[in-house]
C-alpha cells in the first residue's frame, strides 16, 4: 500500500482549504499587523482603508463579541492588539473585502501610531530583567555540586541555539461559513480542530456545539499549525459571524513568516564532568528559552527540553534549569521534536568539547555513556530495553564506521583545501504527550451496506500519512482490501474533544482507537457469520474479503456478510476510544512515567568542507531506526527521511535573522533557505531494527514523526569535525546553525580578525 492521497497529489486533484469551489459571495480577509515590535498604540486610522471600494468591514479588538484573550496554557494573547503591541506583525486589525486583492490594499491603507517601548529579543536579557512567562524550573538527580571535584575533566560552555521556521508549503488559511441559527462551519488548515473550535466559540461567545471544524488535509504542519492555526480561523470566523457571509483568510508567505511563531531559539550554559574512565559523572545545563511574546505552548515545549536534556546517556548526577523568557518576537511554538532537540543539543556540544580536550573521538564518549536497560532518567522513568544499544551497534557495524573513519583520515591527509568529517547521533525520544490528559484517541468506523468502509478519527492528515495508516489498520483488522476503505476528513461533529495531531502520537492513539472500533463491529458480524456457517464466532476470520471458518474459506464473502448483518439488525458502526495504559506525570515535581515508550535510533553523517569557500556538502546520512513493526513501509520511510532532512536544515542552512528591534529579516523564501534536493545527500540509507515489535503501538508499530528530526544534529558535528581538520575551533559561544558563513569564519579565525581590524583602521 502507498500513501492513500498520492494519486490525488500527483494529479493536482487533492483539495486544500481554498481549492474547494468558493461559496457564493465569499469574502476575503487580510491582516494588518504591527509595524514595530513593542509599543503602546496611540491611534489607529482605518478611514482610508474603509473608503476603498470593495472593503466591507474592518475589525479590531473592540469588535470581538466574546472573550478577546485566549491561549492553550495561559489566556494571555488577544486576537487583536489591546492597546499594546508585543511583536512585529502582531495582528491589530482585520480587513474584510470582496476580493483578496482589495483586502490587501485595505491593509496597506491602514495606519497606526505607536509609541515605541524597549525591545527585547535575547532571552538572557529577558531573564535578567525578570521578563518571564513562568518561574525557573529545576530538575535534579543525584548531587551535581558534590561531584565536580570527583571529575577528572570538567568543561563548561555557552550556546546560542537557533530557532527554525516551519515552512509548511501551504501557509495558514481558513474558510468560515455561517449556517442557520448562528452556527459556523469552519474549514481550517489546523492540527488541532478542537482547540480551533473551542477558541472560535470562546472569541465569539458561542457554545462549542455551534462551531463545526472540518479538516481534510494540511499542506504541511510540523507543529506550526498545532496552536497557531487558531488565530486565522478565529479571524475568518469573526468576519463570517458578524457579517453572516462566508469569509476566507489566506496568509501570504511573508505574513505567515512574520506573524507566526517558530521553533524556540535557546541560549544555554552547560558544564560537564567526566571521570578517568570517560564516564559522565555530572552534567548541568541551563536553558533560557526564547519564548516570544505570549506563552502559547512554551511551557510544555520547555518541559520536553528538560526531559530530553540527557538524551540517550546515563548520567548519575544531573541538574537542569529551565526558564521561558518573554521577548518581543512572535510567540514561539511547537515544531517537530517539541523542545526535545533543544534539550539534546547542549549535551552533544559538551561531549564534543570534552572529547576535544581529551583528544578522543566524541563517539568514544557517546558509546561509553549510552544508557542501558534499567537506567532511571532524572524524571523517574526507567529504560526498559536495550534497543538504543542495538541501533548504535548496528549503525557502527552495518555502515562500517571504522572503515569510514580511516577513509576520512586518509582524505584529510591528502587534501589541503578540502576536509571531511563524520559524527554519530544517538536518539532516545519519549512517545506521549507529557500533558497526560491529551493521550486519548477516537475513531468512528462506518461499514455501509455495500461493504465499503469509512473511517474518521481525531488524526489530521498533514502529509505524515495518518489517513493511510488508518486505512491500513482497518484493512488488516477487517481482513478486506484497502481500496474498500476511505478515510474521511477530521470533523469536530463526528469526533469530539480531539487531541492535536502532535507528539508523534497521532497514529498510535487514533490507530488503537480504530482497532477497538473495528473489533466491536467485527464481533457482531462474526456472530452473524457463525450462525450462517454453523460454527462458533471465535472460529470466524476474514481474509481478503472472504469469510473463513476454522481457517477454511467459506462461500460467504465480506459484502454478503455485511448485508446479512444489516438485515439481522447488527451494529455496523462503532466509536472506538483509546488511552495508553500506565502513564502518569506530575509536572509540579517533575516525576513519573510520562512516556508510553521510547523510540530509538542512531545516525551517522559525513560532510565535506571546501576550505577555500567555506561551503560544505552533506555526503551521507546512514541510520538505524527502531520502528517497531512498521505499518506502511514507504510512509514510515518518508517520515524518517523527512525528519532527518528538517533536522539537517535546522543546524546548517536555516537561519532566522531578527534585527535588534525585533524585525524578521529572513522574511521570505529568498532570505530563509531550507534544504533543497541538491543540498540533501543522495546517499541516504535507513535501516529499520528487525524483530522489534512494539506491544504498545497499533499492529506492533512505533511512533515515527519526531524522533528522526534529531538525527540531523549529526550534520552540525560532522561539519565541525571537518573544519577542525583544517583549523582548531576556539570559540566563546557555540552558535547554530553552522552556515557557510560560520564555517568560513572558523576556518580562518585570524584572517577574519585582521581583515576587520584593517578595515576599521582604513575608515579612521
Amino acid at each position: 500500500m502507498k500513501h492513500c492521497d498520492s494519486q490525488l497529489h500527483v494529479t493536482g486533484r487533492s483539495e486544500y482549504v481554498d481549492d474547494v469551489s468558493p461559496p457564493a459571495g465569499l469574502l476575503h480577509a487580510a491582516v494588518f499587523g504591527s509595524p514595530i515590535a513593542h509599543g503602546e498604540i496611540q491611534s489607529l486610522d482605518t478611514s482610508k482603508a474603509r473608503e476603498i471600494p470593495g472593503v466591507i468591514a474592518i475589525y479590531t479588538f473592540d469588535d470581538i463579541p466574546g472573550e478577546a484573550y485566549f491561549g492553550a496554557i495561559v489566556q494571555d494573547e488577544p486576537l487583536f492588539a489591546d492597546n499594546k503591541v508585543f511583536f512585529q506583525g502582531q495582528a491589530i486589525a482585520l480587513v474584510v473585502a470582496e476580493t483578496y486583492e482589495i483586502a490587501r490594499q485595505g491593509v496597506k491603507a491602514c495606519a497606526v501610531n505607536i509609541d515605541p517601548l524597549p525591545v527585547i529579543t535575547c532571552p538572557r536579557e529577558a531573564f535578567a530583567k525578570g521578563e518571564l512567562h513562568q518561574e525557573l524550573r529545576v530538575f535534579e538527580k543525584g548531587d551535581v555540586d558534590a561531584n565536580w571535584s570527583k571529575c577528572e575533566t570538567v568543561v563548561e560552555g555557552s550556546i546560542d541555539l537557533a530557532g527554525q521556521e516551519h515552512l509548511y508549503l501551504e501557509t495558514n488559511r481558513c474558510r468560515s461559513i455561517p449556517c442557520e441559527d448562528g452556527q459556523l462551519k469552519v474549514y481550517s488548515s489546523t492540527q488541532s480542530p478542537s482547540v480551533t473550535q473551542k477558541t472560535i466559540a470562546h472569541i465569539l461567545g458561542l457554545p462549542m456545539n455551534k462551531v463545526e471544524v472540518d479538516v481534510k488535509r494540511l499542506g504541511g504542519g510540523f507543529g506550526g499549525k498545532e496552536d497557531q492555526a487558531t488565530h486565522w480561523a478565529c479571524m475568518a470566523s469573526l468576519a463570517a459571524f458578524l457579517l453572516q457571509k462566508p469569509c476566507q483568510l489566506v496568509l501570504s508567505r511573508s505574513d505567515d513568516m512574520r506573524m507566526t511563531g517558530k521553533r524556540h531559539p535557546y541560549k544555554q550554559d552547560f558544564k560537564i564532568g567526566l571521570d578517568s574512565d570517560g564516564r559522565i559523572l555530572a552534567y548541568e545545563v541551563s536553558h533560557y528559552q526564547n519564548s516570544g511574546a505570549f506563552m502559547d505552548l512554551s511551557n510544555p515545549v520547555l518541559e520536553r527540553t528538560c526531559l530530553h536534556s540527557t538524551n540517550s546517556y546515563a548520567i548519575p548526577h544531573v541538574r537542569i534549569r529551565a526558564v521561558p523568557c518573554r521577548t518581543n518576537l512572535p510567540s514561539n511554538t511547537a515544531f517537530r521534536g517539541f523542545g526535545g532537540p533543544q534539550g539534546m543539543f547542549p549535551l552533544e556540544v559538551a561531549i564534543e568539547k570534552v572529547a576535544q580536550k581529551l583528544s578522543v573521538s566524541p563517539d568514544w564518549i557517546q558509546e561509553r555513556n549510552l544508557a542501558r536497560s534499567g537506567y532511571v532518567f532524572h524524571y523517574g522513568q526507567e529504560l526498559e530495553d536495550d534497543r538504543l544499544h542495538r541501533t548504535w551497534q548496528e549503525t557502527k557495524e552495518s555502515f562500517d564506521l571504522e572503515t569510514r573513519r580511516q577513509a576520512i583520515a586518509d582524505f584529510n591527509k591528502k587534501h589541503s583545501s578540502k576536509k571531511r568529517g563524520l559524527a554519530l547521533m544517538p536518539v532516545c525520544f519519549g512517545i506521549s504527550f507529557t500533558k497526560t490528559f491529551l493521550n486519548q484517541g477516537s475513531s468512528l468506523v462506518h461499514v455501509y451496506t455495500d461493504g465499503t468502509v469509512s473511517v474518521t478519527t481525531g488524526g489530521i492528515e498533514m502529509g505524515q500519512g495518518v489517513s493511510s495508516n488508518m486505512i491500513a489498520i482497518c484493512s488488516r483488522v477487517f481482513g478486506i482490501p484497502h481500496d474498500r476503505i476511505l478515510c474521511n476528513s477530521t470533523n469536530t461533529s463526528r469526533i469530539a474533544n480531539i487531541s492535536p495531531s502532535a507528539a508523534s502520537a497521532t497514529s498510535d492513539l487514533n490507530g488503537n482507537a480504530t482497532i477497538i472500533a473495528c473489533r466491536e463491529i467485527l464481533a457482531g458480524m462474526k456472530k452473524v457469520a457463525a450462525t450462517k456457517l454453523k460454527c462458533e464466532p471465535e472460529e470466524v476470520t476474514i481474509v481478503d474479503g472472504r469469510v473463513h471458518c476454522s481457517g477454511k474459506a467459506s462461500e460467504l464473502d465480506w459484502n454478503t456478510l455485511v448485508l446479512e448483518s444489516y438485515f439481522a439488525r447488527v451494529q455496523l458502526m462503532a466509536h472506538g476510544f483509546y488511552t495508553p495504559p500506565n502513564i502518569s506525570f506530575d509536572p509540579v515535581v517533575g516525576w513519573g512515567r510520562p512516556f508510553h515508550y521510547y523510540t530509538y535510533g542512531t545516525c551517522l553523517i559525513e560532510a565535506t568542507v571546501d576550505c577555500i569557500q567555506g561551503t560544505y556538502t552533506i555526503d551521507t546520512a546512514k541510520l538505524v531506526h527502531d520502528l517497531g513493526r512498521g505499518i506502511i513501509p514507504s510512509v514510515d520511510l518518508g517520515q524518517v527521511e523527512g525528519g532527518l532532512a528538517q533536522g539537517i536544515g535546522w543546524v546548517t542552512l536555516e537561519e532566522l535573522a531578527f534585527s535588534d528591534d525585533g524585525q524578521l529579516l529572513s522574511n521570505a523564501l529568498s532570505t530563509y533557505k531550507c534544504p533543497d534536493g541538491d543540498f540533501l545527500p543522495d546517499d541516504i540509507e535507513v535501516k529499520f531494527l528487525e524483530n522489534a515489535d512494539n506491544p504498545g503501538g497499533p499492529l506492533g508499530s512505533k511512533a515515527v514523526g519526531e524522533p528522526p528530526f534529531m538525527y540531523g544534529m549529526a550534520a552540525f558535528f560532522a561539519i565541525r569535525r571537518a573544519v577542525e581538520a583544517f583549523s582548531p575551533i576556539e570559540e566563546e559561544e557555540t552558535k547554530s546553525p553552522i552556515t557557510p558563513e560560520q564555517t568560513l569564519l572558523k576556518l580562518y579565525p585570524n584572517a577574519a580578525h585582521s581583515l576587520t581590524a584593517n578595515a576599521t583602521k582604513l575608515k579612521k
Binding site: R253, L669, K673
Partner: protein, 481 residues
Amino acid sequence: MNQTLQITLLLNDELLTVDVPPGMVALDFLRKQRQLTGSKEGCKEGDCGACTVIVGELQNSQVRYRPMTSCLLPMGELHGKHLVSIEGLNMEQLSPVQSAMVECGGTQCGYCTPGFIVAMTAGLMDETIPLSEKGHDFATSGNLCRCTGYRSIKQAGQQAFRTLEPDLSGRKSRIKALCSAKALPKHFLDAAEKLCCIPQRKQILPPDSEYTGPIVAGGTDLFVQKGEEIPDTFPQLLNQKAISPALESDGVIRIDARSSFEAFARDPVIQEAIPNILKYNDLIASWPIRTRASLGGNICNASPIADMTCLLLALEAELVIFGDSGKRIVPLQNFYLGYKTLAKKGDELIAEIRFPKPKRNERINWSKVSKRKILDIASVNSAAKIEAEGETIKQAIISLGGVAATPLALNQTSRFLQGASLSSSTILEALSVAQNEISPISDVRGSAIYKRLLARQLIAQHFVNLFPDTISEEAVCEALR
C-alpha cells in the same frame, strides 16, 4: 485602473479568448478565474516551484515548451501561447512521471507535488536536457519540498527519466514520443496547429504615451517586489516581441538585452566566448526562473549581488541604450551611480549588451557563494578575466558583488595586477589592494567580516582555478590562514 486586455491562448486543451489585466499573473488566472487549483501558491516569488507551469511558444511551426513559475508570469505575454498546468498533463491513467512519484513515495502533504510533476515533465519535453540523473536534477532545481527529504522524489524522477529514455533518446522532438509513451496527453499533438490559428497582433503598448507604468521583461524580480501593484497597472511587456540570438562581429558580441539567462547560456556564440557558462548557470536561480530572468533586467535591477551583472562586468560589457534623445553607449561599470541608482533616464531602455569576445589567452572564471548552492542569492560573487603571458599578468579584470552599494569592478586591483608577476606573493598583495576597494555591510546575506573574508577567498580562487600549474592551491590555502 485595472484595464483589461483581450488575449487568445491555448489553456491545456482548450482554446480560449479572455479579457484579463495584462499584469495579472498566470497563477491567479488559473486558480481564481479558471478554478484550476492544481497549481499551488507557496511563496509567490519564484522560490518554491509549487506553481510551476509549462509555456509553449510557436517557433518555426513547432511549439517549444519551457517551465515557468506562474506566480511571476504576466498574462499579457500569453497571447498566442500554450499554457499548460498540471491539469493539462493529466490523462485517464497516470503518466510515468506521476506513477513513479506514487510508487517511490515521493509525495506526502502533496502541496509541492504538482510543481514537481510539471517540472519533471518539462525536463522530459526539452530535447537538450539529458535523460539522466543530472537531467532530472536540472529540471527540478526550482522545486522545494518540506516533507520528504527529496530522496524519494529524486528516485521517482530518475525512474521516470530512465523508463522513458528508450522512447526519447535521439529524438529531435520529444513531444510526439512522449504522447506515444502515454507520458503526455494527446492534446499536445495538435497544439501547434491550434496556436497557428491564433492571429498574431502588434505589440500592445500602454494606452497613453505619457503613461509611466512598470516596464516588465522577465519580471522575476519586479513581480517579487511589486507583485501586488502590477496587476492594477498596464505594464509595458517587453517580451511580446521575439528576442534575437547573440551575434558576433568584428570581435564584439552583441546580445539582445531581453535575452533570458537560459537562452544566453545555451547560445553557441556565448558558449564559445565563455566556455563554462553552463556550469555558472546552474548556480544561478533555477531553470524556470532562468527561462524568464533577462540580462537587461538583471542589470537594471541594480542589485549589488546580481550574478550575471558580475560576470558581464569582468567581460568589460557596454550597454546600448535607446531613449527619446536617441542612442548612447555606456560602459556597464559606469551605469551604477549608487545603491539602486542608474545612469539612465525614465524613457530609456537598454536594447543591447556588448562585450569584446575574449581573446584566446584571456581566461575567465566566475564564482558565487550563497547559503544554499542552488536557487539562492549570493553572499558574495566574483568574476575575473585574466590574461597572462608566461609569468606575467598582462591584464586582470576582476569584479565583485555583495561588497558595495553596487556591483563593483575592482579597478585599483586591476591596475595593481597589470604587468605584475603571476605568483602567490603578487596575489596576496592584490588581495590587500582589493580589501581597500570594498565596503561590505552586514545584512541577511552575511556579516561585513564574512563578506570581506569571502571576497578575499573568491579572488584568490580565480588564480588557483585559472592558473593551476603556476599557482598552487595548497600554498595559497596555507598563506591565507
